[in-house]
Symmetry: D2
Subunit: 336 residues, 4 copies
C-alpha cells in the first residue's frame, strides 16, 4: 500500500467540512488537522461528528511549521488564496485550492510562477468536472459520439438567494457562481474562448441591486473554433438546484438531466409528479467532492504535477469572469 | 385511382360514430349509410356534424337490399354479430366487426364456416394492433431487437367505471375489457396460449359485485413456447387511461409509455409535474381507428381475404376470455 | 349551421398543400380553388390526392375576379405578400398570410393602414402558437403557475440544411427560421423586446457562408420588464426536429419536451433507447396547422378582425429579425 | 456521544464485505472483527483495503468467547443462521441476520422463542426496505397520497444468471431471489397474504433445469384486504438490474423507476439513448446497506428490540417462499 498522504484543511466552514467528510473515504489520504482563525464551538462540534480524531486548531501558521503534512486544502476566503499558496510552495506542500483561484491578477501570476518552479501538485476546486454527468458528457465528446461540437448550453440555477452579506463579499455573480460554468465549458470543449457577451439583471430580489450585484445572467461565449456556448445563471428557483447541460455536435447531442434523491413517481388527478432535483450543491455534488480529492491524492502519489484541474484552469476561469463583468458593464462583447 | 369502397355502418352509437369519423380521411372509402334501429334525434345530430352527406336510417334490413354497398361495419350489440355477418356473407359484402366477435360458440363456428366459403374480407376490430406503440413493439420483435421473448406484461386500466347497466350487458370484464389484451398478447408474440390462470376481485366499487362482475383482475397466460404473459386490468384510475406494455426478451426489453395530450412540464415546490395520459380510448386510440379501417379498405381493394386482424383472431380472443372466466370461477389454472 | 367559409389558396407548394389538407377537417370551411402561377403536373397530382374536388388554376388574378370566395390564404413568396394583401383588401377578402409578413417596411405600413380601414380578418401564419405544448405553456403562465417570468429559453433546430437555392431567397436565418421564435417569445411573455443581441456563425456547412447566410445563432432578447429570453437556432441535427422551450418564473418553471411518433422504448446492452422527435415541421406541427385555420375561420364567422395572430404580430416579428440581423452584423446589442 | 456499538461480522464473502464497508460510515458503530472459517488470502486482502484496522479471523467460536462485542452480523450460509443466532442469544449479543432467515421451520420457531425471551435486537437483512425509492413509496402510501391500495406490481430482474453451483445451494428462485419481493410487498402494504399462485419456467438457460430450479417466475399474491400483488422475477436481462414497483390505489398510483449511474443522454440518428440501470445490487442498493445498519445500530442504542425489519418479517417471507414453491409444484393456488 502507498504511503498515506497527510492533509491539512485550511478553513473550517461549510466547504472545509465537506472536504473533511470526503477524506473519510478517500483511500490513501488522511486529514491530520483542520484550522480556522475564526473557529467557533459550533464548528468544533460539527467537525467532531465527522471525524473523531482530526486535530482542530485556530492557528493557521502552525500548519506550515509542522513536518507531518504533505498537502493543504485551501477553503479560506479568496483574498487569502495567494498568500497561503506562497507559504505552501515555500514549505514544499501540495495544494488543493477552492475557486475562484484569485481575483488579483498580479498575485495570480506570482502563484503560477512559483508553481512552475515547484514541481508540486496544484489543483483547483472545480468539483463539477468530477461529476458523473460531466464525466459521461466528456466521454461522449472524446469518443466522437457527438462529432464536432457546435453549440453548448449550460443552465445553472441555485435554489435560493444567499444572504446579502455573502453576496457583498462574493465578487459578484460572474466570479462566485458562473465561474463554475466557465470552467465547465472549457473542460467539455477543450478549447479557449475568443469572445464574451454578458447580459444580466436583477430579476429575483431588488436587494441584490443594493449591494451592487445581479441575480440573473445570460452569457454567450464564442470559442476559437466558432462553437457558441451560452450559459444561464439564476440565483433562485422554486424547485431546487438546477444543473443541466447540452452539447450539440455534428453527429449527435449529449444532454444531462438533473439528479434526484429518488425516482418514485406519483400519478394522480393533477398529473404525473416526479421528484425535484437535489436541493443544493452539497447533496447534488457530494460524489464529485470525493472524486476530486481522490484525483488530487492520486496525482500526489504519482508525483504528477499536472492535476485534472490545474492552476492554469483556475486562471482561465477568472479571466472569463473578468471579461463577462466587463461586457456586462459596457454592454458590448469583449474580445479576449 | 382505385374505385371507391362504399360502406354501411350498422350501429350509430359511440363506436359507429368513431368509424364514420375515420372514414372521412380513409382514402378510397366512402360511408354511404349509417343505420341504427334505435336511432335518436341526438344521434342524427351528432352524425350530421361529422358527415353532412351520409344517409341516416333506422332500417337495418334495408342495407342488405340495396346494391350500392361493398362492405359493412358492425357496431351493434354482440348478440347481433352472427346474424348480421350471415346476412353479409349471403349478400357478398365484406365485413368489419367490432369485438367481441360472438359469445355463442356454435354461431361463431358457423360464421367461420361461411367466411371460409365466401372469399370475402373479414376483419375484427382489435384497433390496438394498429396503434403506433404496438406497431413499434411488433417491429422490434420481428426485427430481432428483443431476441427470444420471455416475459410479456400488459397493464390496461380504464379511467372510470362504466355504468352498471353497461357492465350488466357487457359479458364481464374478461369479455369486455381484457379481450383487447388477450388479442394484443397473441399479436405481439405470434403464438398461442396453452394455460390460463385468472385472479380478480371487486376493488373499485362493491356495486360491481351486485351485477355479478369484478372490476380488477390479474391473469397469467403461459404460451406454447413457455413465455409467461401477465395482464392487469382495473376499471378505474385517478389519472386517466393507462395503457402500457413490456416485453422482456433474451436480447432486450421493449416497453411502451402512455401517450399524452402535450409534453409541457411544470417544475415547482411540489416536484416536476408532467401531463396525465389521454383521458380514454377515443382520444388515445384515435389514430388506430383510422389505421384499422385503412387496412380493411386496402384488403378489399387487393381482394385479400386475410385481413390484419382475422375472424380467427376474433375467435381466439373469445376462447381466452372463456378460459379466464372459467379459471376465475374455479380458482384453478385452465389448460387450453 | 353557419355558412361555409369559402377559401382560395394562393401558392400550391408544400405549405399551400398543408393548408389544403387542413381544410379537409376544419369545420365550416371549404377550399374552393388553389392557384399557382408555376403550377406543375406533380403539384396537380399531389393536390388531387388531397382533395378530389378543389379547382386548380395557374391564374392568380382570377381569384380576385370571382365572387364565390370569402378569404385567401397566401403561401406565395414573401415579396408578393403585400400586393396580394392589397388586392384582397380591395376585394373585401379576409387574409391568412404566411410568415414573414413582408420585408419591405414601407409596404408593411401600407398593409397595416389598409387593414385598419378594412374591418377584415387578417391572420399571420405563426402556427406554433397553436401547438399543444405552446398552448399549455401559455396557460400555465396565464393562470399564474410559473409566477413572474424571469428567463425564457427557446431551442429550435431543423433536422437538415435546406438547399442553397432556398437559403439564398429565404432572407436569412433570422427572417426565415428564427422569426418563429421571435413570435413565440412575444406570444408567451405578452410584452415587447427592448434590446437584441445576436451571435452566430457557420458551424454546419461552409457553403452557407458562400450565399451570405449563417446556419447557427444564439440571440439574447431583453424584454421591457427585464425578462431575459435567449433563442438558439441551428439548421441541422442528427436526430430530427428539435423544438423545446423553457420558462423560469418566480413560482415555477414550465418546460416542453419534443413530441415523438410513438413512445416505445428499447432497453438493451447499449442503454435505454427512446424514439427521436418527429422528423420535421410537417409531422411535428400538423395539428397546429389545423388549429390556426380553425381559429381563422372562427374569427371570420364571428366577424372579429382581432385574430389570434394579428398583422401587428407579423410586423413585430419582422422588426425583431431586422434588429437581430443588425446586431449580428455590427456585433453590438441593438436597442429597439 | 453515545457509546460505540462494537460489531463482529460472521462471514467474509461478498455481503460480509459490503457490511464492513457500510460500517466505515455508520456513526456510532465499529467493526471489531470479521471471521470466516473458509478465510482465503484474497478475502484478507479485500478486507484490508476496506478497513486497515479490523481484526480478521478464521475462528467463528472465538467471537462468542470475547467480551468486547455488542452485536453480530450473520452473513454465513442459511443453514448456519439458527445455530449462530442461538449462540448470540446465549451470549446476550444483538443480531443482524442476512436473508433468508432459516429454511427449517422448527429451528425458526426456536429462534423466535429465544428472541422473545432475550430482549435483544434482531434485524433481518431485507435491505431494500431502506432504499430511497421504497421509502418514498411507503411514505406516499402512509400519507394517503395513493388512497386505498388495489394492485401492486413488483418487477425484479437480475442482470445475469449466477453460477450453477450458487443456484444448487440457493434454495431455489423463490427462496433466494423472490424472497426480497415477498418482503417488499408485505412492507409496502402493511398486511398479510391469504393466497399465493406461482407460475414459472426455465426461459433463460436449460442448465438451470438440470439443477432443479427455474429462472423466471410470475407470482400472484392475494392480500387479506383483497389487494392483488404480482411479482415478476427473471434471472437475466441484457440491460442490467431491473428493480421497479408500482402501486395502484384509489387516489393515485406510485411507481418507481430504475436508478442509473448518471443522467446523460445521447441523441443521434438511432434515437435518444439514456443510461442503463446500475449493473447489480451492490451498486444499486449501496445506500440501503448503510441505512439498514444505521437503523440496527440505532435500535441497539435505543434498547428497542423492535427493529425496522424484525425476526417475524424474516419468518413471514420464508413462509411465502414455501407457499410459492408448493403452488408452483402443484400448479394450484395455495391458501395460507
Amino acid at each position: 500500500m502507498a504511503k498515506q498522504c497527510t492533509i491539512a484543511i485550511l478553513g473550517a466552514g461549510r466547504i472545509g467540512q465537506v472536504h473533511l467528510q470526503s477524506l473519510q473515504v478517500v483511500s490513501g489520504a488522511q486529514a491530520r488537522v483542520i484550522v480556522d482563525p475564526y473557529l467557533t464551538p459550533a464548528m468544533t462540534k460539527q467537525i467532531r461528528s465527522i471525524d473523531a480524531e482530526v486535530e482542530i486548531s485556530a492557528n493557521v501558521a502552525s500548519v506550515f511549521s509542522r513536518s507531518d503534512i504533505d498537502a493543504i486544502i485551501i477553503c479560506t476566503p479568496t483574498t487569502t488564496h495567494a498568500e497561503l499558496s506562497f507559504s505552501a510552495f515555500k514549505k514544499g506542500l501540495h495544494v488543493f485550492c477552492e475557486k475562484p483561484l484569485e481575483r488579483n491578477i498580479k498575485k495570480m501570476q506570482k502563484m503560477i510562477a512559483m508553481y512552475e518552479e515547484s514541481k508540486l501538485c496544484y489543483q483547483v476546486g472545480f468539483n463539477r468536472r468530477f461529476d458523473a454527468n460531466a464525466q459521461e458528457m466528456k466521454r461522449l465528446i472524446n469518443t466522437g459520439k457527438v462529432g464536432t461540437p457546435r453549440m453548448l448550453r449550460i443552465t445553472s440555477r441555485d435554489p435560493a438567494l444567499p444572504s446579502l452579506d455573502y453576496i457583498k463579499q462574493s465578487g459578484g455573480l460572474f466570479f462566485d457562481m458562473m465561474i463554475h460554468d466557465f470552467d465547465m465549458a472549457r473542460f467539455l470543449l477543450g478549447q479557449e474562448v475568443r469572445e464574451v457577451y454578458a447580459s444580466g439583471g436583477v430579476l429575483v430580489d431588488d436587494a441584490v441591486a443594493s449591494v451592487g450585484d445581479i441575480d440573473s445572467a445570460v452569457v454567450v461565449l464564442t470559442f476559437t473554433s466558432g462553437v457558441l456556448a451560452y450559459i444561464e445563471n439564476c440565483r433562485e428557483t422554486s424547485y431546487g438546484y438546477d444543473q443541466r447541460m447540452e452539447l450539440l455536435g455534428s453527429k449527435g447531442m449529449c444532454s444531462t438531466e438533473n439528479m434526484t434523491p429518488h425516482r418514485a413517481l406519483l400519478s394522480d388527478t393533477k398529473g404525473i409528479q416526479s421528484p425535484k432535483p437535489h436541493y443544493f450543491f452539497l447533496e447534488r455534488y457530494a460524489e464529485s467532492y470525493k472524486n476530486e480529492l481522490e484525483g488530487f491524492v492520486k496525482a500526489i502519489q504519482q508525483k504528477n504535477p499536472t492535476t485534472e484541474c490545474s492552476i492554469y484552469d483556475g486562471k482561465k476561469a477568472v479571466e472569463l469572469a473578468f471579461a463577462a463583468q466587463k461586457s456586462f458593464e459596457s454592454n458590448k462583447p469583449v474580445i479576449l
